[in-house]
Amino acid sequence: MKLFVELNDIKDLKYYKGSNIIGVIVGLNNISLKNEKLSLDDFNNLINNKGDLKIIVDCERLFSDEDLDKNIQFINSILKDIDYLTFSDFGLYENIIDKTKLIYRAPTYLTNTADVKTYMKLFNLVVISSEISKNELLVIDNNIDSNHIIDIFGMNQIFYSRRPLITNYFKYRMMDNDPYKDSYLVREDTRSDKNHIKEDETGTHIYESFYYKLDEELIKLKADYGFIHVPFMKSCDIRKVIKAYNEFYNDFDVTKLNDKLENIKTYKGAYDIESVLRKGDNNE
C-alpha cells in the first residue's frame, strides 16, 4: 500500500519522504473540508518543490450553484499542477474538465460492496468509508479490485453543517469571540471527552474525539493506497506518524508501529465496532 499524508504546513514538506510515502493531501480555502489549508503562495511553493511527491487537493465540501460558479474555474485551473482531487459533491464531478483526476471520498457513504463497485464504475478512484467496522472493511476490500483507497489514520468529521453554529452562538450570548479559531472544542454535558469544533466559510464541523488508526488489519488489506489524515496535529507528531507508517510498510511489524505512535492518543474509531447498532437491535 502506498500512502498519501495530509500536509498542514508547507514548512513540513521536507519530512514527507520515505519509500512508501508517495504524496500529500492539501486543503485550500473555499473548496476543502480539511481543517488546515495552505495559502495560495504556499500551494504554488508546493507545486514548485514537490519533487516526486504526488499532490491531492481536498475538494470535498458541498457546493451551492453560487459556490460552484465562484470556484470551478480555479479548481479546473489547478488540475494541470496536481495529480488528484478528492470530492464528495456530484455537482463538482459534472463540472470538472479532467475527470480522470477525481477521487470520490465521503466517509459516510461507501459502506457496502455493491455501492463501492457502483461508484468505482463511475469514478476513477474511490475511498471506502471509514465509518464501518474493520470486519466490514476487510470484506469490501476483498470483494473489489485493489485499485481503491482506505483511510488508515485520521480524525473524521462526524458532523458537517451549513449552519454557522459558533457565530450564531456568540451572537446569541452577545460574546465577541472570533468564531473561526482552531482552538474550540465541545463536550457533551454527560461525557468527558471533547471534540474539535471548527467553523469556516463552508459551515461548522465537529470531529471525533481521538485519532483512529488501522494497524494489524493493514496486513490483510489489498488496497493500493492509504490516506493518513492529521487534522489539529502538531508537526512533531505528524513526523512520528509518517515515520511509523512508512517503516511499517517495510517490515510489517505491528508492535513497532504502535510503539512509534505511543504518545499520540489513538483508538480504532468506527473500525472497532462490530456493528453500529440500529435502534431496536438487541444490544447483547
Binding site: T113, T118, K279
Partner: protein, 402 residues
C-alpha cells in the same frame, strides 16, 4: 404544469390512510427493512399492498423509503423486496444508495427512483448527474435557500421535491455520525439518537466559554415553510414534503389539512394573502410541540433557527377525541378519548371534509356502562357526546383553550 403534490409521511397504515383522507396527494412510508426511522417502520408488504389499493381509489400515490445507507448485511433480500413493492402498486422508492437505484432499475423497472435528501443535493449540476442514472425525482437538501431552489428549477431535467415542514437535521443529512460515535446508534440506518439536540459545553482550549447550564446548542428548530408555498409552486417544484413518520395521527391530520388549505387557496386565487397565511399558522400551531422557523429558506441560518436554552417538546394536550361514528337522528357522536376534557369545555371539530366547528360539551356518557361521567379521563375510552355538528368517522376533536 401539473398541480403540486402534497406529500405526507406515515409511520403506520392507519396514519397513512388518515393522511390521504385529510388531503395529502401522496404518502411516503417505510418498510421493516431498508428504511430510516426504524421505530416508525411498521409496514409489512401486505400493509403496503393494502395502502396502495386504498390510494388508488382516491387516485393518489404511495412511495416507499429505502433510504438507509446500507452495510453489506443490510442488503439481504433487496431484490425480492423491490419486486414486491413494484407488484404492490407502489409508485416509487426513495433511496440514498446508487447501487439500490441501479438494482431497482434492473429488477423492478416500473418503480420510479427518487434520490433521498440523505444525498444532500445542493446544486443543479448534481441533479444533471442523477438524470444520467435514470432517476425520476430528487429530494433537495434542506440547506437550500428559496433563491437557490429557484435557480435549480430553471434548468432541472428532473422532478424536484422540497421539504416544507417538520424536523430539521442540524448537519447535512447523510453526513452526520454524531449519534454513531456517542451512542453506537447509526444515524444513517434508522437509529439516530438526535445527539444534536443534547447539551454541550464550548471550550477555547482548556477554558470553558459557556456559563454553567447556559449550554452550547447545535439543535435546530423545526421547519415551517408556509410562507414559501406560493414561491415554491410558482418555481415549479413537483412535490412539497412534510417530515414526520413518527408523528401522531393528530399532528398529521392538522398539518396536512393546513397545507392542503394553503395550496388549494393558491390555486384558486393564484396567490396566498397575508390573512390566509395567518389562518394557516394558527392551525399549524395547534399541532406543534416544538418551536419552528423557516430553516434555510431565507438563506444561511441565524439565531432564529436554532434552539437555545430550551428543550421545547411539549406534548400537545389539545387533541381530545377521535370520532368513530355519528348518529344523524340523535346527534350523538361516539368518540374515542385521547386527552382529558369535561362538560362545559369548548371543543373544535375538524376533519377531511369539515372545517373547524366549535361546540360546548354537554353530558359525557360512557359508551360501555352508560354512566354519566364528570370528566373524560381515560385514554381510548369510548364516550358519547351530543353535538349538532354533523360529524363523520375520522373527524377529530380538540380543546379550545381560553
Amino acid at each position: 404544469m401539473n398541480k403540486v403534490e402534497l406529500l405526507a409521511p406515515a409511520g403506520s397504515l392507519d396514519r397513512a390512510i388518515l393522511a390521504l383522507d385529510y388531503g395529502a396527494d401522496a404518502v411516503y412510508v417505510g418498510g421493516k427493512k431498508f428504511s430510516l426511522r426504524a421505530r416508525a417502520s411498521n409496514f409489512e408488504i401486505e400493509d403496503i399492498r393494502n395502502l396502495c389499493l386504498y390510494a388508488k381509489t382516491l387516485n393518489k400515490k404511495v412511495y416507499v423509503t429505502t433510504n438507509i445507507i446500507p452495510h453489506d448485511n443490510d442488503l439481504d433480500g433487496l431484490d425480492e423486496y423491490l419486486i414486491a413493492l413494484e407488484s404492490s402498486g407502489v409508485t416509487g422508492i426513495i433511496t440514498s444508495s446508487l447501487s439500490i437505484i441501479k438494482r431497482a432499475e434492473e429488477v423492478a423497472p416500473k418503480l420510479e427512483r427518487h434520490v433521498s435528501t440523505q444525498m444532500s443535493i445542493t446544486n443543479g449540476s448534481t441533479i444533471k448527474f442523477f438524470s444520467s442514472l435514470g432517476v425520476k425525482r430528487v429530494v433537495l437538501a434542506r440547506e437550500n435557500s428559496m433563491d437557490e431552489i429557484k435557480r435549480i428549477m430553471k434548468e432541472t431535467p428532473l422532478e424536484i421535491e422540497a421539504f416544507i415542514h417538520g424536523g430539521m437535521c442540524s448537519s447535512y443529512s447523510g453526513r452526520c455520525v454524531l449519534s454513531n460515535h456517542y451512542t453506537l446508534r447509526d444515524a444513517n440506518r434508522g437509529g439516530c439518537a438526535h445527539s444534536c439536540r443534547w447539551n454541550y459545553h464550548l471550550y477555547d482550549g482548556k477554558k470553558r466559554l459557556n456559563e454553567h447550564k447556559r449550554f452550547f446548542n447545535v439543535g435546530s428548530k423545526d421547519l415551517n415553510a408556509g410562507a414559501y408555498i406560493e414561491e415554491l409552486i410558482k418555481a415549479g417544484v413537483a412535490s412539497l414534503k412534510i417530515e414526520g413518520r413518527m408523528k401522531s395521527a393528530y399532528y398529521l391530520a392538522t398539518v396536512v389539512k393546513a397545507y392542503r388549505m394553503l395550496i388549494d387557496h393558491y390555486y384558486e386565487k393564484c396567490s396566498i394573502d397575508k390573512k390566509t397565511l395567518e389562518e394557516f399558522n394558527i392551525e399549524i400551531r395547534k399541532a406543534e410541540n416544538r418551536d419552528t422557523g423557516i430553516g434555510f429558506y431565507n438563506g444561511i441560518t441565524t439565531i432564529n433557527e436554532q434552539l437555545y436554552d430550551q428543550r421545547t417538546e411539549e406534548p400537545t394536550k389539545e387533541f381530545v377525541g377521535y370520532v368513530l361514528s355519528y348518529n344523524d337522528e340523535t346527534h350523538e357522536a361516539l368518540i374515542e378519548q385521547r386527552n382529558y376534557f369535561i362538560p362545559g369545555d369548548t371543543l373544535e371539530a375538524f376533519g377531511p371534509h369539515l372545517n373547524n366547528s366549535r361546540f360546548i360539551v354537554g353530558e359525557i356518557i360512557d359508551f360501555e356502562t352508560k354512566e354519566v361521567l364528570d370528566a373524560a379521563r381515560h385514554p381510548l375510552q369510548k364516550l358519547i357526546i351530543k353535538t349538532d355538528i354533523k360529524l363523520k368517522e375520522k373527524d377529530m376533536l380538540r380543546k379550545v383553550f381560553k
